[in-house]
């Protein structure tokens, strides 16, 4: 028991600092991905509910691809694909050099693609929960289409979409563990290194699982708080 505590302590003897740093990287990757995933997901949902068939089809192809590919494969496609594209582009203009894509950025791009495809579904089903009368009301008040969307629909949409978006956030948080495979020093990688060096794999991977659990718990608390906040107008009715 004491031995385990020494291994997990901060400072020269333990791996505490490495694991803490890894946790920070994991959380910041998820947080950095979130706004992109939300914005792309919202736009894709808008396209999916539009009356224009071509736009709808284009958006559906997007979600079919990124919900059908394994997250790990998307990650490799982005990581190696972008690298090869940049190298070929440089070779075209006559520069022969080696470029390595930053794994944080590659992870961010891949996770945004995957997560936005899921979030677009969340937004889409929330759109279905908003009655047509809300659009008509906005129109009757003389608001332009964009204004109706932003001032009338969006605030209600967020409230309806929050539970599903929260779920997507939890999935996103877990999926960031995959980015360790392309060399990002996140929680999974740091604990992996510690496990290999100390030969205490069960201890360190167990700690990694526990930290992911704690992150999920913190997220759930935050999410339920946000949900309550978003519904604060409901009680008055």
């Amino acid at each position: 028991m004491n031995e385990a505590l020494t291994l997990l302590s901060f400072g020269d003897l333990g791996w505490g600092d490495a694991i803490a740093l890894g946790t920070v990287v994991t959380v910041s990757l998820a947080l950095a991905t979130l706004p992109f995933a939300l914005i792309i997901g919202f736009l894709v949902a808008l396209a999916k509910k539009s009356n224009e068939p071509s736009l709808k089809l284009a958006a559906n192809i997007y979600t079919t691809i990124f919900r059908g590919l394994p997250e790990l494969l998307t990650l490799f496609l982005v990581y190696f694909g972008v690298q090869i594209a940049i190298l070929n582009g440089l070779r075209l203009i006559g520069v022969d050099t080696y470029v390595e894509v930053n794994s944080f950025v590659a992870g961010m791009v891949a996770m945004s693609l995957v997560s936005s495809a899921y979030m677009s579904e969340a937004f889409l089903s929330a759109f279905r929960g908003i009655p047509q009368g809300q659009y008509e009301g906005g129109h009757a008040l003389g608001l332009r289409h964009g204004q109706t969307l932003m001032l009338v629909i969006f605030p209600q949409l967020i409230r309806l979409a929050l539970p599903a978006l929260g779920n997507s956030w939890l999935i996103l948080l877990k999926d960031t563990a995959l980015v360790s495979v392309i060399g990002l020093s996140d929680l999974m990688r740091e604990t992996g290194i510690a496990a290999r060096v100390t030969k205490e794999a069960f201890l360190f991977f167990g700690i990694a699982c526990l930290i992911y659990l704690v992150l999920a718990m913190i997220s759930s608390v935050g999410l339920s708080w946000t949900e309550r906040w978003s519904k604060r107008g409901d009680t008055a009715r």
């Binding site: 396209a47 539009s50 009356n51 224009e52 068939p53 071509s54 736009l55 709808k56 089809l57 284009a58 192809i61 079919t64 691809i65 919900r67 059908g68 590919l69 394994p70 997250e71 790990l72 494969l73 490799f76 496609l77 190696f80 694909g81 090869i84 939890l170 877990k174 999926d175 563990a177 995959l178 360790s180 495979v181 999974m188 992996g192 496990a195 030969k199 205490e200 794999a201 069960f202 201890l203 991977f205 167990g206 990694a208 699982c209 992911y212 659990l213 999920a216 718990m217």
Partner: protein, 275 residues
């Protein structure tokens, strides 16, 4: 005068041509981009179909494909078997059963599959003497069995939640109706409740299978040569990017075929519900 023809053919005026709104232009531009990239993908794959890469690696990919199917099939099967007692325990009124079941489900749904796989595969080494003593060490030594164990445990947690949700979703009146007819509880469960619950559970089960197919790519990281594993090996030997593109096409194909079959299946089973 042509007044003799009494019936004048009235035809509906032609629909006004659809205006080229900004949305429509944008939609067509996006579709054009998809079509161009789709055609170039097909062209790229077709031009490479006789390349040395494909000649050399297609049997390997085929093998990987079957390994992936094997992992997914076995994990889903074991997971389904395991999920029944977990779901029962989770729905139980006694805390002794429901609390551990809740912890189990919460753990497996709250941590990444990759972490669970590492915990089992690498972590088992820490308990080697104990595992050897009971004689199940060979299971933990082989990455393949380890992966199946990890995936089964993972999917059993998800499936237990699906099952529990579906069973609790069946209205109480169904239980009461069966009781009024004098049907024993166990018969009522299997003949009345379960068929209705499984219909509700059909869609989430389909999603779970798709999640498992996608998640099975993780097996590649612990040295199992499934489709993803063979892909990574082919890429590291050839440095040819088409390795990943072929894998993407195969995975997309797998998931799409399964989704279509499942939609048909669901439509067939719920045809009595369509009014």
């Amino acid at each position: 005068m042509t007044g003799s023809t009494a019936t004048v053919q009235m035809s509906r005026p032609p629909a006004p041509p659809r205006a080229w709104t900004k949305t429509r232009i944008f939609g067509h531009t996006l579709m054009a981009m998809w079509i161009v990239s789709g055609i170039s993908l097909v062209y790229y794959l077709a031009s490479n179909i006789a390349s040395p890469f494909v000649q050399k690696y297609w049997p390997v990919y085929l093998h990987g494909f079957f390994v992936t199917l094997e992992i997914v099939g076995l994990s889903l099967l074991f997971g389904a078997l395991l999920s029944v007692p977990i779901a029962l325990a989770r729905a139980s009124r006694w805390k002794v059963f429901s609390a551990p079941a809740f912890a189990y489900v919460y753990f497996f749904r709250g941590t990444p599959l990759i972490a669970q796989t590492f915990l089992l595969y690498y972590g088992a080494g820490s308990f080697r003497p104990e595992l050897e003593a009971i004689g199940i060490w060979p299971i933990f030594r082989e990455a393949f069995y380890c992966v199946i164990l990890a995936f089964s445990l993972n999917t059993s947690a998800y499936q237990a939640e699906i099952l529990r949700g579906a069973i609790q979703n069946v209205p109480r009146g169904q239980w009461e109706g069966a009781q009024a007819l004098g049907i024993p509880r166990s018969v009522a469960f299997f003949k009345v409740i379960l068929p209705q619950a499984l219909l509700v559970a059909l869609r989430p089960y389909g999603n779970e299978i798709i999640l498992m197919i996608k998640g099975s790519a993780i097996a590649a990281i612990v040295t199992v040569f499934d489709l993803m594993g063979e892909t990574r090996r082919a890429y590291s030997r050839s440095y040819d990017f088409q390795a990943y593109i072929w894998a993407a096409v195969i995975y997309l194909f797998m998931v799409e075929v399964l989704r279509r079959i499942w939609d048909r299946f669901e439509a067939r089973l719920t045809r009595h519900l369509i009014r």
